[in-house]
């Protein structure tokens, strides 16, 4: 049976990952779990005692922070996989050009790489689900949907970033993406505290960022409180961003790779 062209490209990334997976364990599994323990359990014991549970809407802090961290880790993993490896495909190992000398087309190379990024995001989200289940903070059966929701968050970050990365001549701008983009988002998108405590100006900005929508989506899913309206708003926003990013990426990829 014929393998779809995009998945043949994905196979390359899988094979390359088998050589480097040990190095990625720390960043995708261990550090997030340390965060979860320090924040959810350590800091959480203060928050819960100090009446925080009431202002969080009667839930423990671990329950509050875990789905937020899952969404944030999905976004961070997606950003890492959507910047440096794209530059590698174009300039360092030139894998994209090797692929394009074969029957694979630019759209196959793009779709194949995005598929792989989706798989990496799933690997980054899954440990949170396991830990949440182990601590008994997944009351709702819908909590399992945090996995696809996390992949959606990852794609909303990934497609615009690969579109951008394909326009760059070197990796210099990527550290700015992290310092000025990913880290502020991580801190102010409602992962650690509800954005309702922010001054109104910052709150409006937070509502406009993709990570806040991702955090809300994952949190409401674990609580089983996701209504149709908020599902439409949050998922709709992320889907729209992912689709617009993919359309732009197919243009920037074509411009860069088919000269």
């Amino acid at each position: 049976m014929a393998t779809p062209p995009a998945l043949r490209a994905t196979q390359y990334f899988l094979l390359a990952y088998r050589r480097t997976w040990r190095a990625s364990i720390m960043s995708t599994f261990v550090s997030p779990l340390l965060y979860l323990l320090a924040m959810g359990v350590g800091l959480g014991s203060f928050v819960n005692k100090g009446g925080g549970a009431a202002s969080l809407g009667h839930m423990g802090y671990l329950q509050f922070v875990a789905p937020g961290l899952a969404a944030a880790n999905a976004a961070t993993a997606a950003a890492g996989e959507s910047t440096f490896p794209v530059m590698g495909g174009i300039k360092w190992t030139r894998t994209y050009f090797a692929m394009l000398a074969t029957p694979l087309r630019v759209v196959d190379v793009l779709a194949g790489h995005l598929t792989w990024i989706g798989a990496r995001v799933a690997m980054a989200v899954a440990p949170y689900l396991i830990v949440m289940a182990a601590f008994g903070v997944t009351p709702s059966p819908e909590a399992a949907a945090v996995l696809p929701a996390g992949i959606l968050v990852g794609m909303a970050f990934s497609t615009p970033l690969v579109a951008f990365a394909a326009t760059q001549d070197n990796d210099g701008s990527f550290s700015l993406v992290f310092r000025l983009g990913m880290i502020p988002l991580f801190l102010f998108s409602g992962v650690f505290f509800p954005v309702s405590v922010l001054p109104v100006g910052l709150r409006v900005i937070a509502y406009a960022t993709p990570l806040w929508h991702g955090v809300e989506l994952c949190r409401l899913l674990t609580l089983g409180r996701l209504g149709a309206a908020s599902a439409a708003v949050h998922a709709g926003y992320l889907v729209a961003l992912a689709v617009v990013g993919a359309v732009i990426a197919s243009r920037t990829y074509t411009r860069r790779l088919r000269t």
Binding site: Q11, T93, R94
Partner: protein, 309 residues
Amino acid sequence: MPGEPLIYGRGLVKQFGTVRAVDSIDFAVERGEAFGFLGPNGAGKSSTMRMIACVSPRTSGDLSVLGLDPDRDGARIRGRIGVVPQEDSLDLELTVRENLYVYGRYFDLPRSELRPRIEQLLRFAQLTERGDDRVEPLSGGMKRRLTIARSLINEPELLLLDEPTTGLDPQARHALWDRLYRLKSQGVTLVLTTHYMDEAEQLCDRLVVMDRGTVAAEGSPQGLIGRYCTREVVELRFGPGESERHADKVADIPERIEVLPDRLLLYTDQGDATVEAVQRRALAPVSVLVRRATLEDVFLRLTGRQLVD
């Protein structure tokens, strides 16, 4: 259709912004031959190759590869050709075998078919012992042989090689030429670009000389030498800057004379007779050399001696 050329270009143009890298060229490559694009840097060889390889859309003109149109059937054409790019695109972290395997997967070749073919290609490329080694520590010649082995994974009927031996030492170049002869004897059509004249003379049945995006000449290596040069060249070497004042004394002897700062090149069909005639004029060159004319003489005549940067 029998008799139809394997590759056919007419009025082929590639434009980058305001620069015409390829400026309306005509050529045809027949099945089974080794065809060369020769030219200095920036002549448009690689741009032409990339259009033939269906990775770069043409600006205008006609192009047909294997009887198909690269604009419409790019993926199908790429499935039947092999490409050795100018810059290696091997994955240095993967092993030799993994590089071949993953490349074969791009063509959707099943594992059962790939396994024996990889072993066969490793033997062909003399890399069997290094099959499970990472690519990074391999020598330049080995990497190049691996790139050629990789390009053969789909058993192509047409192989495109963009400067296949640039940067290799003489041993590695000869080893590579030997592999290319073998492919040619198996019926694979070879199309290559090079700026090494000896490579073109060794490998190509026919070639075009490109200069500034156009075709300056076309023919077999011997045919081009016959048309654009004499059979032999007499080189008279003088001290630096001295050749010019001797030029007038011998200018009437050969068919054509070229004055370089330290040498006079006398183009002639009878080298020994020319040398005798020169000796009667009582010049005292530092050295006298009679040699056969080469493609390099043709090349320099057609594309000039100025450096192109």
